[in-house]
């Protein structure tokens, strides 16, 4: 009896940590591998046309940027400062590497060779200034020419926030002087650190 107790006590100390089957369990995490499927992924892609319960995409204008075969001309979401700020944040993450922070097509990546084949879009042209908002939504969703689709990383509500911000950028770069707030204008004409210079420090 006594011997057994000692034996088990010693054995349990010596064998502790020998089992590692709980460390690597036979379960799948996002992005883990599974050789059962031809593409080796454990997470299966959704079949075309899959709709999660309660997520039917009925609102064409919101989900495709077009209604009745024509691009919508008005934002399908209420415009607010919050929306613009969200748009600014998302724009700086996903678009500014190529299009630049002011949308002139002079981002870091554009300068590093993306323009070799076709120039990165500049938002400040008459054609794009007159383009309905639906077109911008469509470019983010489906890509445009050499620009890839961003649909997998930006959800529809954020895409509209970006569109609103791009429209604001267009206004900001092409505003008539009469629209400017006189106080802010005077402030902006005072000599101070050049914005382009501050950005240049990044390069």
């Amino acid at each position: 009896m006594n011997r057994n107790v000692i034996f088990f006590a010693v054995a349990s100390v010596l064998l502790a940590g020998c089992h590692t089957d709980m460390w690597r369990q036979n379960k799948s995490a996002p992005l883990s591998q599974n050789d059962f499927f031809p593409d080796g992924q454990a997470s299966r892609p959704l079949l075309a046309g899959t709709i999660a319960k309660g997520h039917e995409r009925k609102d064409d204008a919101f989900f495709t940027g077009a209604k009745g075969g024509k691009w919508v001309n008005e934002l399908p979401v209420p415009l607010s400062k919050k929306l613009l700020l969200r748009g600014q944040e998302r724009y700086n993450i996903f678009c500014s590497p190529c299009h630049g922070q002011v949308g002139d097509g002079n981002g870091m990546i554009a300068n590093r060779g993306f323009t070799l084949k076709r120039p990165v879009g500049n938002y400040h042209t008459d054609r794009l200034r007159n383009m309905p908002v639906g077109h911008f939504y469509d470019v983010i969703t489906n890509g445009y020419g050499t620009m890839y689709s961003y649909a997998s990383r930006i959800e529809p509500s954020d895409r509209w926030a970006i569109v609103a911000y791009v429209k604001a950028l267009q206004l900001s770069q092409n505003a008539p002087l009469a629209d400017a707030d006189p106080v802010a204008l005077e402030e902006s004409l005072k000599p101070k650190e050049d914005k382009a210079h501050a950005e240049g420090a990044k390069h």
Partner: protein, 251 residues
């Protein structure tokens, strides 16, 4: 009756006693040292990857936001590594003939994902969640080391239970608010720090931010900073008493 033990047995007994007294702790310490050494924890050991992807190049020199590639880190438990499509959104045009990028192009053409070797991995009986940590303004580098300067990604911290608990027991040593940007949400402050560092270099940062960017931040012991941390902990409603309960991470 003949003697069983010769006089020399005395020496053997003494030696054995010393051996037990000194040897056991030595072995104990050796095991403890080994389990904390990079050989076991893999801290600072760069991991081979199918493509020599460099964060130093993409995140620092090109200034691409972490979220361009790790798009889910703010809203999901899992940060995830980017899809091949994400690489191709640039590399369909840039360096499109580079032999280093051949596996990326192969993967894109065949639809078979790249197999990145995980650098950070917890045992499966531990649950971790990125979104809650990012939502409390905890910078990626607190846990991952100076990622934006890594040529080949390596682990910045051991991720042993003791290490997680050091923060969970006293989150006020880590939580802070960037006072130069009160308009930012905590989650935005995490990424803004990289932009700030890009723009002004180390000179533009305070002590804490500097050590975060260099990857040496280990919690503050400064009384004033901790008092501010405590206030934030209260403001966020973090229940410090429960944060170190086993069931937070093991369930």
């Amino acid at each position: 009756m003949a003697q069983i033990f010769k006089p020399s047995a005395n020496h053997i007994t003494t030696a054995a006693l010393y051996g037990v007294v000194l040897g056991v702790p030595t072995v104990w310490l050796a095991i403890a040292a080994l389990s904390r050494s990079p050989a076991n924890t893999k801290v600072n050991v760069p991991i081979n990857q199918p493509v020599p992807f460099s964060h130093q190049h993409h995140a620092w020199e090109l200034g691409i936001d972490c979220r361009y590639c790790h798009a889910n880190v703010e809203k999901s438990s899992y940060a995830g590594v980017p899809s091949t499509e994400t690489c191709m959104s640039c590399h369909s045009q840039i360096w499109k003939n580079s032999p280093l990028l051949e596996p990326v192009r192969q993967s894109y053409e065949t639809g078979t994902p790249l197999k990145w070797n995980l650098v950070n991995q917890l045992p499966h009986f531990v649950h971790f969640n990125h979104s809650i940590h990012v939502a409390r303004g905890i910078n990626c580098n607190t846990c991952h080391g100076p990622v934006q300067h890594m040529h080949i990604t390596y682990k910045g911290n051991p991720f042993q239970m003791k290490w997680c608990l050091e923060c969970h027991r006293a989150p006020d040593r880590h939580i802070y608010k960037d006072e130069s940007r009160p308009d930012l949400e905590p989650r935005q402050q995490v990424f803004n720090l990289y932009w700030k560092y890009q723009k002004d270099g180390l000179k533009g940062l305070n002590l804490r931010e500097r050590s975060l960017m260099v990857g040496t931040f280990d919690g503050t012991n400064d009384g004033k900073e901790r008092a501010k941390g405590k206030e934030l902990v209260k403001y966020y409603g973090i229940k410090v008493q429960q944060l170190a309960d086993c069931s937070v991470c093991h369930y």
